[in-house]
């Protein structure tokens, strides 16, 4: 049976791609961010996942406003990154796990989530850069991937509680999957930031730190808030924390903290990193 070994949560910012390409890990601006990752690399060496299920949001690479799914699950043998228009290097393709993807889709429809299934799906920086941060080695990513895309672009967005329950159904599907796989779940995006409007530059350190702490001990804490309240507390893009809630929902209620880091700012973003283990 497949086992979930833990969860990894991290912000995604296009500029991280430029910093990796230019080897700026030791640069004073970037070091406090990149210094968060060696403990994660050591943990990954211990738990050795085969597959990662990645909850993220597309920024207008695969999906446009002509067709905007609330939830979409990748079911492709391979996922390609592509030019997003702002000059960060395109990363090599990722191997999929289509059988596992379809089991997720079956479970989600059974639980009345009704996602869009995608046998072709471009993956953007919200997917590729977290993977590059977690597995920085040259060449292809060493785990197979299942992308789960949540709409954080066009309101109405799915409620926080709904994203958490989506994650619970994903966790059930993985637990029922009859193959000896070690699975890690990943949630990307946030934490507090706002790119648009007169409130651009908004950051809320207290909320971010409370949110990260809640994922360890009180994982449904943030589901008390409406989408509008989350935007008010975290910014128009801080609401990407929905991806973290989805990933957290896939994990068992009790987890242990492996590592955390929090740094302000990367670009306009409060960058969070959290890794929790299930003991598997």
């Amino acid at each position: 049976m497949a086992k979930i070994v833990g969860g990894m949560f991290v912000s995604h910012v296009p500029a991280i791609g430029g910093a990796i390409a230019r080897n700026l890990q030791e640069d004073p601006y970037w070091k406090p961010f990149f210094d968060g990752f060696p403990p994660v690399h050591r943990w990954l060496e211990e738990v050795k996942p085969d597959v990662a299920v990645v909850f993220y949001n597309d920024h207008g690479l695969n999906f446009f406003l002509d067709k905007m799914p609330t939830f979409a699950v990748g079911a492709a043998p391979q996922y390609h990154n592509a030019d997003e228009g702002w000059g960060i290097p395109t990363l090599p393709p990722y191997d999929g796990a289509p059988d596992l993807s379809w089991s997720l889709i079956e479970k989600l429809v059974d639980k009345e989530f009704d996602p869009v299934s995608c046998q072709e799906m471009l993956v953007d920086h919200a997917f590729t850069l977290p993977l590059k941060l977690f597995w920085p080695q040259e060449g292809t990513c060493p785990v197979r991937l299942v992308p789960v895309c949540i709409n954080t672009v066009q309101h109405p967005l799915p409620k926080a509680s709904r994203c958490y329950k989506l994650g619970e159904a994903v966790g059930e599907a993985i637990a029922e999957w009859d193959e000896d796989l070690r699975v890690v779940v990943i949630g990307t995006g946030g934490l507090s930031h706002q790119l648009d409007g007169e409130r651009a530059g908004f950051i809320n350190r207290d909320f971010d730190l409370a949110f990260m702490e809640s994922l360890i001990h009180d994982p449904q804490w943030a589901t008390q808030y409406s989408i509008e309240e989350i935007v008010e507390k975290t910014g128009t893009q801080g609401v990407e924390l929905l991806n973290w809630l989805g990933a957290r929902g896939a994990l068992p209620p009790t987890v242990s903290k492996v590592h955390a880091n929090y740094h302000i700012p990367i670009s306009n973003t409060a960058a969070g990193l959290l890794v929790v283990g299930t003991g598997e």
Binding site: G60, L65, W86, H155, L195, D196, G197, E232, I264
Partner: protein, 119 residues
């Protein structure tokens, strides 16, 4: 009449909802096209013609012409797509932040850093 009722007001913030998505469709579709280098080059060659080809209205075309970030948002632009336009113009998100808040870029960056020191 607005398609959605009773919106929560968050200062300096507009939620990109169905009303905005309809209003900004042409503008955002043009920005979505900037995923392709050929399209970016064509925009740079003749901005006005490129805007016209995507059917931008006068408000949107003027906001493009005058590099008015708040104007682009008011005309229905979504920042995830506008970011691709910013890439063509060589602007990063801190340039956008400065333009929208009326600060200098240095002041905007200092404001971001100050958040790290809040208790």
């Amino acid at each position: 009449m607005a398609a959605t009722a009773a919106k929560r007001q968050i200062p300096g913030t507009t939620l990109f909802d169905g009303d905005m998505a309809q209003k900004g469709y042409a503008l955002n579709k043009m920005c979505f096209s900037f995923n392709h280098a050929d399209n970016r080059a064509e925009f740079v060659r003749d901005e006005a013609a490129y805007c016209a080809r995507y059917g931008l209205n006068a408000e949107q075309a003027e906001a493009i012409r005058s590099r008015d970030v708040l104007g682009l948002l008011a005309a229905g632009g979504n920042v995830y797509y506008l970011a691709k336009l910013a890439g063509i113009l060589g602007l990063d998100v801190q340039d956008l932040g400065a333009a929208q808040t009326g600060m200098s870029k240095d002041a905007f960056k200092a404001m971001l850093l100050a958040h790290a020191k809040e208790n």
